[in-house]
Amino acid sequence: MSAPAPVRARIGGPAQRGRGPRRRTPVGRVVLLAALSLVWLFPLYWMLVTALSPREDLAAGRVGVLPTALDGGGFSRALTQFPVLQWAANSAAIAVVAVAITVVVDVTAGYVLAKHRFPGRSVVFFLIIATLMIPVQVLLVPQFDLVNDLGWINSYWAVIIPRSAEAFGVFLARQYFLSLPDELLEAAQLDGAGQLRTLWSVVLPLSRPLVAVLLVMTFMYRWNEFAWPLVALRDPALYTLPVGLSFLQSQYTTDYPALMAGALVSVLPVLVLFGIAQRQFVAGIARSGLK
């Protein structure tokens, strides 16, 4: 086999300067990727086309690659007739507060589990990881009773607090901190820094990728969460966006422009957030050794 390809040999080497001949642009691969990307993006594109199309045309099956006529009706119904903006505000408030709590809790717990030696450590870690495998549905009833007893039903806290310790986040943080050299922490403590101070001024500055991942993932989880808010929030004015949208979907099954407009309101913030944080996100995932 006449291997054509020092290029192909390097599965994944970051551009090796000065080693081997200069690489050509792999045209075939780019074309294939572009084709796949079009397929992958189509549902998102179709959401936009639908949201901007006249309702009657869709109902009659008149569709094209572009909207048959530009129509703002979908957006205006979603934003004025339905409380989509209110729901988005609820989701945002819940997600922001939850992110703040979760990042602190996850980073602290992950750090201790990675770098401290104490009896019960593996039991604690196992219990936390095991919670990943609990389907939320099994917790809904007892969690509802608990939150009800606490008087939180129909408040943001009902959604924020019960899941503000996130097992996957703790796991990620622990993996990340395992890769930090012990010597660094020991040096800090020899210099007289206490535990909290070490965590704050030595560990945290080295953990930007981790914090970025946790921020983005937690925001995403909370912003997108469905089953628990569905149960915990009774008052439609307090619905989060996914709960509100699923309600619309069941009530206005055929108003696809409005449904897709509402869906876009849900999609855009997370897409923008990921767009901004993508590099950090990928770096954080890689550094956590999840590979």
């Binding site: 040999a9 390097r10 080497g13 009659a60 201790v112 589990l113």
Partner: protein
């Protein structure tokens, strides 16, 4: 300035720097560890483990959520054995895992291989494949429901236009299952792409070059060098994806409600249906507990097997 007990004793450190762990009494250090863990322990304990115990308790009763519940022992668990819908849901869940997990892995690896080294627009392509992963399951399902609408959906129009049969995605059970599968794959393959990509980029190019010098074809290098090196990633992804599959709820709930006629019913949607719609809280909880125990046991066994085979290598 510091409040740490570890530093109040200017440790006997003048000569050789002693390891950190010797500077404070053990019990004090452990107390510090647990103090730092307290928020997590409190949250997991109160809002996850305590309700889990509650769920097990409910699963031993005939609770309807209204009035007094009576203790019925293991009746709810026994009832599953004779419940055809439960077995249907279990089979659907297992099938979904058996199909969607390998396809997600292969698709993710394929895309990651295409993206592997610097390629024009690489970051953009990566973002494209990650995008559906970050969207809410409800929105994914709403979009899926619309794309696959059997009357006016674009999928059937395209299929029709190509002269292919246009299935009834809502009224045909098999077609409905396929539509859920496709939507699920779209929604979560992004994670596999990202993790495989980062693993591929971590492979030492010298290893591949050595294989190439030894005359390995690209395919052989993939099969005998790259794939084994990706094993930890594959293992991790498999575990994550299987766990996720057993918890798929939003997509099915919004897209099909488990229908038509239970064709897309999964264990957790059935548990929810029983617990909330049919008001059989005891039975719904029992199903949930079974899902948890099965997934936990499978994960632990798999983890062990993985570790053993790794030691053998």
């Amino acid at each position: 300035m510091t409040a740490s007990p570890a530093t109040t004793t200017p440790a006997a450190s003048a000569s050789a720097p002693p390891p950190v762990r010797r500077r404070a009494p053990a019990v004090r250090r452990w107390a510090t560890s647990y103090a730092l863990l307290a928020p997590a322990l409190l949250l997991f304990g109160v809002f996850v483990l305590y309700p889990l115990v509650g769920a097990v308790r409910i699963s031993l009763t005939n609770s309807t959520g209204i009035g007094e519940a009576r203790f019925v022992g293991l009746d709810n668990y026994a009832a599953m054995a004779g419940d055809a819908t439960f077995w249907r849901a279990a089979l659907n869940t297992a099938l979904l895992a058996a199909v969607s997990v390998p396809v997600s892995l292969l698709l993710g690896l394929g895309v990651a291989l295409l993206l592997r080294d610097r390629i024009p627009g690489g970051g953009l392509f990566r973002a494209v494949f990650l995008a559906p992963y970050v969207i809410s399951g409800v929105v994914v399902a709403m979009t899926g429901r619309w794309l696959f609408d059997q009357n006016v959906g674009i999928v059937d129009r395209v299929l029709g236009g190509l002269g292919l049969p246009a299935p009834d995605w809502q009224s045909d059970g098999t077609a409905a299952s396929v539509s859920v599968l496709v939507v699920l794959l779209w929604a979560r393959t992004g994670l596999a792409v990202i993790l495989y990509l980062s693993a591929l980029q971590g492979i030492d190019p010298d290893v591949l070059e050595a294989a190439e010098l030894d005359g390995a074809s690209p395919r052989q290098r993939l099969r005998f060098v790259v794939w084994p090196l990706l094993r930890p990633t594959t293992f991790f992804l498999t575990v994550m994806l299987v766990i996720e599959t057993f918890q798929v709820f939003d997509i099915v709930w919004v897209m099909t409600r488990g229908g038509p006629a239970g064709a897309t019913e999964l264990l957790v949607t059935y548990a929810y249906n029983q617990g909330f719609s049919a008001r059989r809280e005891g039975y719904g909880s029992a199903i949930g507990v079974v899902v948890f125990v099965v997934v936990l046991a499978a994960t632990v066994l798999w983890w062990r097997a993985q570790r053993r085979s790794e030691e053998e290598l």
